[in-house]
Amino acid sequence: MAVIKYFGQIAEATGCTEEKISLVNSDLKELIQTLNEQYGLERFQKNIAVNQVIVKLEDAYSVQDTDEIVLLPPFSGG
């Protein structure tokens, strides 16, 4: 099961901070699009991290069962 995590205003919109989804060889871009539609996340500026590394959605990526996919709003530390 791939783990999907949400932070900040994105977690607020999804109503949860984490969920597990069973998907194999699913395209990352499509997954994000599905989540956008499901939770209305288009309005948020966000970064996507796969296994703790920020990725570009333009680069094709097949989500693996052990992946941790994280939707991060703009960083606002300090």
């Binding site: 995590k5 900040g8 703790q52 590394v53 941790e68 994280v70 703009p74 960083f75 606002s76 300090g78």
Partner: protein, 142 residues
């Protein structure tokens, strides 16, 4: 790995103790400190009373470690410390403490700014600004 995250505000006592710990290091000739304080910003008759910080620690810790290593490569420092709050920090309290030390002063100014900028830009920390009517808004870094 160096511990960065502290639950709640960074107290003046903690800062003073950090400074005191360096008095046995006699190769140091200059310290520089940056302290980030929670500001009571006002928006449409609402005032920020606190910021509640969360972070994606699994990514934040390696990123902070990389910033630390790259800062040492870039600047000739004797030591450096970064502390950031998690959880609720009230207006007027300290949420970020960056402390660098070197033989001479020139290095410490530039290194401090380099570290603070990188922490703000690259570390996945999120600030939820609590307003005085208990609603909130999300902090935006400029």
């Amino acid at each position: 790995m160096k511990k960065v995250f502290i639950e709640g505000a960074i107290t003046p006592e903690f800062i003073a103790q950090s400074l005191a710990k360096h008095q046995t290091k006699h190769s140091i000739g200059a310290h520089n400190i940056f302290l980030g304080q929670v500001r009571a910003d006002e928006t449409e008759q609402q005032k920020v009373t606190a910021i509640e910080y969360t972070c994606y620690e699994e990514m934040a810790n390696p990123k902070l470690e990389a910033i630390r290593e790259e800062t040492f490569q870039e600047y000739n420092l004797t030591c450096m410390h970064i502390y950031h709050s998690l959880g609720r920090v009230k207006a007027g309290e300290i949420c970020l403490f960056v402390f660098v030390s070197a033989k001479r002063r020139k290095e410490v100014y530039a290194a401090t700014e380099y570290i603070v900028n990188r922490v703000k830009d690259e570390v996945p920390i999120f600030g939820k600004e609590i307003l005085d009517n208990e609603t909130h808004q999300w902090k935006v870094n400029h």
